[in-house]
């Protein structure tokens, strides 16, 4: 209780009730935020975790249509892979940041990566492609070779990898993307199922 002693006004103060109330509100808000935005989903590596937020739908959809879909998930690019601690720390930090923005409805129409995120992505491009973008034989004896090849964001040339040319909240007509929270979709509509099972039973009868 030492902790509360330090942050709460003395029992005698009129402020104490107010402060207790405010702390309760703050905690409540945090839980709300966390739940509302499914912050825990950040700890998953499943891209579907990202589309929990509809603001991630455009980037999800563009990724879905890119050649990287088969090779790299969101976290392969957007989360550091240099060590495990950093990976989860970054995820949690980002998750909370995105969640608060989302809950506050402060997301801009067109989202840009922050500088730290850009650095993470650049590292990840290299993680997979370093053999292709540098010449193995030169890295051995030309000191600046690797930095010459990597000191510029890859997407300044590969402008459409992987999210395409057009960015922004409204770049897709509908907000339809599979949400992990959605019940499994009905692949065969009920009327058709009915129809088919009827036919089946009919043919059986024959």
């Amino acid at each position: 209780m030492g902790f509360f002693k330090n942050i709460l006004p003395p029992k005698t103060s009129r402020w104490r009730t107010t402060a207790v109330f405010l702390i309760a509100v703050m905690l409540g808000f945090s839980f709300f935020t966390a739940r509302e935005a499914e912050v825990l989903s950040y700890l998953s590596d499943d891209p579907q975790a990202c589309v929990n937020c509809h603001v991630m739908t455009p980037v999800y959809n563009s990724w879905m249509h890119s050649s990287h879909r088969e090779w790299a998930s969101c976290n392969d690019c957007h989360v550091p892979h240099n060590n495990v601690f950093n990976q989860y720390y970054f995820k949690a930090k980002d998750g909370l940041y995105h969640a608060s923005i989302f809950t506050l409805r402060k997301e801009p129409e067109v989202i840009f990566m922050r500088d730290e995120s850009a650095a993470v992505v650049q590292d990840n491009c290299l993680r997979c492609h370093v053999q292709q973008v540098t010449q193995t034989k030169y890295t051995g004896w030309l000191d600046s070779h690797a930095s010459n090849r990597t000191d510029r964001t890859c997407w300044s040339c590969h402008r459409e990898v992987p999210h395409g040319r057009v960015h922004g909240q409204s770049t897709i007509r509908t907000n339809i993307a599979p949400l992990p929270t959605d019940p499994t979709m009905e692949v065969v509509p009920a009327w058709l199922k009915n129809e088919l099972s009827n036919t089946k039973s009919v043919s059986h009868e024959k």
Binding site: E36, E109, V110, R165, H167, S170, R173, N175
Partner: protein
């Protein structure tokens, strides 16, 4: 829960008639679009040369008064502002004069064409040629709602549609069928109903005497194509008060110049920049606050350009400044040419001597106006704009070299003095324009005739009901 917001629920509140000119009625069904539309009433933004602020172009650049000597634009010309003001501004401009009643005033009814959704309503009710007939003042009580929904939308499906015959006829003249265009093209073509060069043809077979609205695209949309079109028609908008040249006025060839730019080349439409999507709580809608995209760079540009807003703004200003620099040079050359031609007439030049010179002046100023009149062109298509200005300079040079020779021949071998036209007032005075009289007439119109128009319209609209959906679809 915010996720549910994303599920679009559309429950129409009212049944809308295609001839419904009142935007507020449409707004009941489409509140997000209507609310954003209403923002075109904002006049708070000014950029280097545009924005929603009222900008007196004659004050900012008094050369224009001389270039348009003898024509309405020398009286009053402002940089356009939001669609919300389309009717108010045509009431206020000195160009429409101070009519005292039907049949009075300098302008034809055709002037209303691009100012209101009352126009398709009226055309529907009385016929197209009938709409174009008569004076501007004749239809003042009919046209009162500012540009809005019925100008661009089908009331039943909300699909984009063309409400103005001139555009459809222009496509026909080019041998194209406007009903075959793509949806993406429609996102520009609705604008091309108005943001285009036009003229009034009084000699259309079967419609002689009616100033029929025509877009001069039959031979193409380039500056040379339209010039050829007008030359072959022997058309001129007015005769210049100083040089007596048979002049052409280019009116905002916005769509035509846009088509020559890189954005059109890559399929970017007017609406992409001037009506970008916005979202509110996961609900996407088209931002109907049509305005300078520089007041909305995040949505309008950064969707495609991943660079910071200040850099994009600088790109735009840079192109505009470069166009302005040479445009102003061309203006000075043209002002001088008009003055020099006047001097020739004063010294007794003959029609025959003047004719080739006046043709050069006509062609030079046509190029200048084509490049200047669409305020967006220096960004929409900076390279074409520069090409056209260069072409104008070459014509102006032809004119002025000939003028120098003719002046010498007439005994005047020196520079024609340049008058003091440092302000709009000085330039108008130089031309002997009686501005006080025009302003007084305008005031009288606003006190006497205008209130009557508005009252009459109010009474008419009160009789139009907007059916509640519940009642209609019982």
């Amino acid at each position: 829960n915010r996720k549910n917001e994303a599920k679009f629920k559309y429950a129409p509140q009212v049944n809308i008639d295609q001839n419904e000119p009142r935007n507020a009625v449409w707004g009941k069904n489409f509140p997000a679009e209507y609310q954003s539309y209403l923002q075109t009433s904002d006049t708070g933004f000014a950029s280097y040369q545009g924005g929603s602020k009222m900008r007196d172009m004659l004050e900012e650049d008094p050369n224009l008064v001389i270039l348009w000597a003898g024509y309405g634009f020398a009286k009053d010309y402002n940089q356009g502002r939001g669609h919300y003001y389309s009717v108010e501004d045509i009431h206020n401009t000195l160009r429409t004069g101070g009519p005292t009643g039907p049949g009075d005033g300098p302008m034809p009814a055709t002037c209303w064409t691009c100012k209101s959704p009352d126009v398709p309503r009226l055309m529907n009710e009385i016929g197209v040629a009938e709409f174009y007939s008569g004076k501007w003042a004749d239809k003042g009580a009919e046209v009162v709602n500012p540009i809005g929904c019925a100008d661009c939308h089908n009331a039943e499906t909300m699909k984009l549609q063309i409400s103005r015959p001139a555009l459809i006829e222009a496509f026909e003249a080019m041998g194209e069928d406007i009903s075959k265009v793509t949806h993406q093209e429609m996102r520009s073509l609705v604008c091309a109903q108005c943001h285009v060069e036009y003229y009034f043809n009084k000699n259309l077979p079967g419609k002689e005497g009616t100033p029929y609205l025509v877009f001069p695209w039959k031979d193409g949309m380039k500056v040379e194509d339209m010039e050829k079109y007008y030359d072959e028609l022997g058309f001129s908008d007015w005769t210049h008060a100083l040089s007596k040249a048979p002049m052409l006025k280019a009116q905002h060839p916005g769509y035509e110049t846009y088509l020559t730019g890189i954005h059109a080349d890559r399929g970017v439409s007017c609406a992409d920049c001037h009506m970008p999507y916005a979202s509110e709580g996961g609900q996407k809608y088209t931002d109907h606050h049509i305005q300078s995209p520089l007041n909305n760079i995040n949505n309008a540009c950064q969707v495609c350009h991943r660079v910071n807003a200040e850099q994009l703004r600088a790109n735009v200003y840079d192109r505009q400044r470069k166009a302005t620099e040479n445009r102003l040079k061309l203006e000075e050359q043209l002002v001088r040419a008009h003055l020099e031609a006047k001097k020739c007439w004063d010294l007794g030049a003959t029609e025959e001597q003047m004719q080739p010179i006046l043709t050069d002046i006509r062609h030079a100023q046509w190029r200048w106006d084509y490049a200047a009149a669409a305020h967006g062109a220096s960004f929409h298509s900076p390279v074409e704009t520069a090409r056209v200005i260069g072409g104008g300079m070459a014509k102006a040079q032809d004119a002025r070299v000939k003028l120098a020779r003719l002046l010498s021949q007439l005994g005047f071998n020196e520079e024609v003095p340049f008058p003091d036209i440092a302000t709009k007032e000085k330039a108008q005075e130089f031309l002997g324009m009686d501005m006080d009289k025009m302003k007084a007439e305008k005031e009288a119109f606003k006190e006497n005739l205008l209130p009557k128009w508005l009252e009459e319209a109010k009474a008419r609209e009160a009789k139009m009901s907007s059916d509640k959906v519940a009642e209609a679809s019982n």
